[in-house]
Symmetry: C2
Subunit: 302 residues, 2 copies
């Protein structure tokens, strides 16, 4: 089993969806990713929080075996995202982003993180992603998430990062933007030329797929009667993917990555069923096994 390092946000989210609303709920990519991944392998978080961040949440992460020695406590307030989803749960509408302590975030990996075999660079400034990537010694797998804001606003830096990574994990809209083609397949073929060895494309309620060396593997999402809040689904998904790979000490091994995609799908199905990390926190080994079986049944021809 390998260890995972992730860098990303620990945040407060104020969110409205057709199912309700929450104010200042716990969120952030590193939060969702690490809770998800910790179901599979030891996970170490790099991030920054403000003085208003609840200490007992850090204690909660520790209680899951998550290493938080790379979390910095800075002067000021924690990153705060305010957003909304209307009927289309695949489309987040941002009302306000308060970077706060994230504005001067300088991620530093503690000595105990440097030997980790898996690195997940959560959706932050590509410059910081590169900075983290340069600190870690010789990871087996480096995965990176990004978003439209960086794809358009920090494209050069992102293009510098891509040849250094193994797996790019983005959604279909981001892939169209990055690959600059309205046809998704044409877009990801262009992205493959930018350096990453494998692409994992998330399509929300429609599922996800991998492309690696021209080979495809696709899975649907689980059929859910109720979606509450999709926030964090992508990071939870990545936590399942990288978590399963780490658990199996996998390199860029297509058969293992297929199963990793299924575990990512299973994990994210829990996050969307409640606000914040509420449902994700309660996921048991048995829950994961049950939904994995359900998903396998749904994609098995005979």
């Amino acid at each position: 089993m390998g260890a995972i390092v992730t860098v990303g946000s620990l945040a407060f989210d104020s969110i409205q969806t057709p199912a309700g609303k929450v104010d200042q709920a716990l969120g952030g990519s590193a939060n969702y990713f690490s809770i998800s991944a910790s179901n599979f392998a030891p996970t170490k978080v790099v991030g920054v929080v403000g003085q208003d961040f609840p200490k007992d949440h850090i204690e909660y992460l520790k209680s899951r075996g998550i290493d938080t020695s790379g979390v910095q406590w800075a002067e000021g307030k924690t990153f705060h995202w305010q957003g909304e989803y209307k009927d289309d749960m695949n489309q987040a509408i941002t009302h306000n982003t308060e970077l706060n302590v994230f504005e001067h975030f300088d991620p530093k990996l503690p000595e105990s993180y440097l030997g980790a075999e898996y690195l997940f660079l959560g959706n932050i400034d590509p410059e910081l992603q590169i900075h983290v990537l340069e600190q870690i010694r010789s990871p087996k797998i480096i995965a990176l998430d990004s978003m439209n804001f960086w794809i358009t606003g920090a494209r050069e830096k992102l293009l510098q990062a891509l040849p250094k990574i193994d797996i790019l994990i983005i959604n279909d809209g981001e892939a169209r933007l990055l690959g600059d083609d309205k046809n998704l397949i044409a877009a990801i073929e262009k992205i493959a030329q930018m350096g990453p060895k494998a692409l994992v494309i998330k399509q929300g309620e429609y599922g996800s797929f991998i492309m690696m060396e021209g080979n495809f593997f696709a899975t649907p999402a689980l059929p859910l009667r109720k979606l509450v809040d999709p926030t964090g689904a992508g990071d939870t998904f990545a936590g399942g993917v990288i978590g399963y790979m780490a658990k199996n000490n996998a390199g860029l091994d297509f058969p293992t990555m297929k199963k990793a995609l299924l575990y990512g799908t299973v994990m994210s199905s829990y996050t969307v069923q409640d606000f914040s990390i509420n449902r994700l926190k309660e996921v048991t080994e048995n829950d994961i096994a049950t939904r994995y079986d359900e998903l396998m049944k749904m994609i098995t021809v005979e």
Copy 2:
């Protein structure tokens, strides 16, 4: 092997897509469906055309073994649809619909059609669908397609038809409208209460899935580098689904229906790669086998 009867439109389509445009090209649900299905099982068409319809196209259908004795030649012009797709190829924009000879269409099944085991009721007025359904003797499987226009405009008639059919084949937007729920899974659970024994939900480039007795099976679409025109993809898909079931003399048998869904996916992948029936006409047995293998590889975990 069973025989298939289909009722639907034989039409001219004038279409603009980002890939180009065609005027008065051959189209219509019965056209796409029967050419697709005839790769699998004998197919008999019920429809109506005007005096302007090319006789050599009817000869072409006959050359594929398609029975056209149920095609009526009426006074007047053939049904003509004018539409457009912008960047979102899942969304047709109708500019004009000239019903022409379709306005007074009274479908009549020739005696030779009445013993067919499979009936596909293409997307026409539910009143006509019921009229056809009442003529055929004792089919093993009745499948029905519909669209927003009938779901909102002829809802009562459609609800009368649903308990009489086995398989409803519609797209996700139509399902949300018919089931009156923004959550697709909740919507189709309501539709299942309306009578059809199995639901096949098409999701365009995202693939499709079956729900039958609470069981799900889903498949992605094939990854295509170029989409030319999605018109007819749904009918082509249905032709593959019902064609494969007829070839195997299948009832509502879930394992066979899974494979049928894959064959529907394969067939529709050809239709979208050119305008009209141009690419579909050229599909060989070898083409079908090749893309079926490609699709299987794409969904097989180990």
